[in-house]
Symmetry: C2
């Protein structure tokens, strides 16, 4: 495909992402220790083993009586089995006694079964005769109503694999086997450099001709949401020396660099030149068969991925989703089982025809509407420079590369914001 200057080097989003990943050097990611209660959403950097059995002893799963199962065989409503009530087991206490033939011990849910017992009879299937004897109306099988020692976790077993995002139940499992601190990857640091002679900080009162910095702030949220640490480097003039200087300092403290706003005709050549001037491989792609996001630049400097994003908020959002998020996931050490389901996706019917240019992957913002016949997706056809098209939208749909458009009524996947 041809680029904006008629050269044959406009890449598809897929090719461009592959190029980035292929050029990403294998680095040893930094690790740190975290208390389990502080580790929600962190990424485990080691397989987490259990050094003990969970549970550490044989437990009853019901309120009832610990028995030898064979003593209950043949019990029925009309022909109950009689057992001697010999002991009572209390929660949290060791059950280090034996039972005589046809003996039973009262046990609460979670209580420890004595070695000799292999099942629990539920209260509901027992009639108490007196404080020495019970009638059992229903037999239990060996192991019935019992959790065996180590049935949940065996000593030496891996409970959480390396590269997994820690969920609440993972924290619970660590607590359960006495793991109170885990090793996780440090979050990748992402520098955000805003360029543009017209861009000013949001707190400044505007002079005519100036606009406030939207993208640095939106990117801060996106980076945080994606498990990175945003480093806001500020707003810089569209000048080779100035931008090169801030890139140079950013290369020292960042795992990824985003330059926002400098890729239109006026300045895109500055950004591309700076990336190339830092050395090989430099710019990997410049110009994509993607809308919005066409003039995007992707490159690599000393193993640090560098992105030059168009100034339009919608383009920034799409470029982040397609390129920066997958790279950030790699830099985070994430090894998810189903990375494709990491976003919320709903099906909806398209409310109007969408036309698209063949040979270009188009991302369209949509508003969801709940109607009597289900969910509908209404395209927001505003200019991609408008931040409110992103604020009004509930998500985006994708018109693939080799499709001319999508017809009204078609079921589409909406990737929710």
């Amino acid at each position: 495909m041809k680029d904006m200057l008629g050269r044959e080097d406009v890449k598809t989003a897929e090719t461009a992402l592959k190029l980035l990943i292929d050029n990403l050097p294998l680095k040893t990611l930094k690790e740190k220790n975290l208390k389990i209660e502080d580790s929600l959403n962190a990424i485990s950097s080691k397989d987490i083993f259990s050094s003990e059995d969970l549970p550490a002893f044989k437990r009853s799963t019901v309120d009832g009586y610990a028995v030898k199962a064979e003593d209950t065989f043949g019990a029925t409503e009309t022909m109950p089995v009689y057992l001697n009530l010999e002991k009572e087991i209390f929660m949290g206490q060791m059950a280090d006694f034996s039972l005589s033939e046809d003996g039973a011990a009262k046990i609460p849910t979670g209580g420890m079964l004595p070695d000799v017992a292999d099942a629990s009879v539920m209260f509901e299937h027992v009639q108490i005769i007196d404080d020495k004897m019970i009638e059992v109306f229903k037999p239990v099988a060996p192991a019935e109503n019992v959790i065996q020692k180590g049935e949940d976790v065996k000593k030496g077993e891996i409970i959480i694999r390396r590269g997994r995002r820690i969920r609440p139940q993972d924290i619970g499992a660590c607590a359960g086997v006495g793991v109170t601190e885990i090793t996780v990857y440090e979050k990748p640091k992402v520098s955000v450099i805003s360029t543009g002679d017209e861009i000013v900080s949001p707190e400044k009162s505007l002079s005519i001709g100036e606009v406030r910095d939207i993208n640095s702030y939106m990117l801060t949220g996106m980076i945080e949401e994606s498990g990175g640490i945003p480093l806001i480097k500020g707003i810089f003039k569209d000048d080779y020396e100035i931008i090169r200087d801030v890139m140079e300092t950013s290369l020292k403290d960042s795992d990824l660099i985003i330059i926002s706003g400098g890729t239109s005709v006026g300045t895109k050549d500055i950004i591309a030149k700076i990336i190339d001037d830092f050395g090989s491989p430099g710019v990997l792609f410049h110009g994509l068969s993607l809308k919005p996001g066409k003039p995007m630049i992707g490159g690599m400097i000393n193993g640090v991925p560098v992105f030059g994003l168009p100034g339009h908020p919608a383009a920034v959002s799409i470029c982040f989703e397609i390129f920066i998020l997958p790279i950030l996931n790699i830099l985070s050490g994430l090894n998810e089982k189903f990375p494709q389901y990491s976003r919320r996706i709903v099906k909806a019917k398209l409310s109007k025809n969408i036309s698209s240019t063949q040979g270009r992957e188009e991302h369209i913002r949509v508003i969801l509407e709940e109607k009597e016949d289900g969910l509908w997706a209404e395209p927001v056809l505003g200019k991609s420079g408008l931040i409110t098209t992103l604020v009004k939208a509930d998500g985006t749909i994708v018109v693939p590369l080799n499709v001319y458009g999508i017809e009204k009524g078609t079921i589409v996947d909406v990737r929710l914001f």
Copy 2:
């Protein structure tokens, strides 16, 4: 339906949740101010207005020439229109000049159009004759390639409604109109009280008969993930006085109280009695047609929702999802457009028959497997007391109240963890 003691008061999950919501008093939620860069995922407590137009001036969306559209009418490849190049507009600078008849000014993307110009011609449709004249090959319509003053946001317009979870693009929109601080609801505080004579803290080395506190730690993660602040109150003996005392202090600093572990026969009556003894309405339900989660208790003390959860991790997880999360959302001030899509859901084919008791809503943990013919959901049929069934599972499916089971091969909704 009958409860465990044969009384007719076992409620469905739906009825129980409605009862809770109906008894939840309308409270004025506390608010606080946050800098926009710190507000990701906070809930806006006021409509956020813009006090200015965005953009504050008429901007070009292309690199090209600011013109009066009518001067270009009729232009073609063979019969171009000639315009006088009178000025050059620079980024961030005011364009307070006029254009003569057939006049044009060079303009970059984002540059300010002078009052007299109403459209921009793209570079691609222009041939430069010399530094005084250009040829235009294609007419532009009025407003073409221009974003009008206030087209993104009008002065006085609401940009974010009250009750919305702040997303990255919302932060961007605030920055764009100079709103650098917003008012959000304070996060609800949730006390977690763990009960059980056998329960000990995870860092303790175990004596036989003791088990570590899994649920407090899992709940910490779930509360945080749901936008609440967990207050871990510790582990308490199954004793009326002791639990009543910690409930009393928790009522002073909490918006919601969770008691975990005290609802089996041994202690459930203590929890229910304490909740009732604090006054009306007290216990709202005790025992549900739900699996896991059957012995759950829900109540209200002085307007504070109180939950007694079964000790089994899987039951805790389901009860949290069904009851605590919706109540926490109300206490957070959340007013989402599509609360039903707040979780990630994928479709998968069930890999084996599941039987279920009619009259009971059953939640089943599943492992997802990607096969050649698509995604399959494999039920994890372990005991709900095992934390690892939750760790291994990728999500849960629901067998509704009045269904006997689901057949192998049926497409089911998997709610991902």
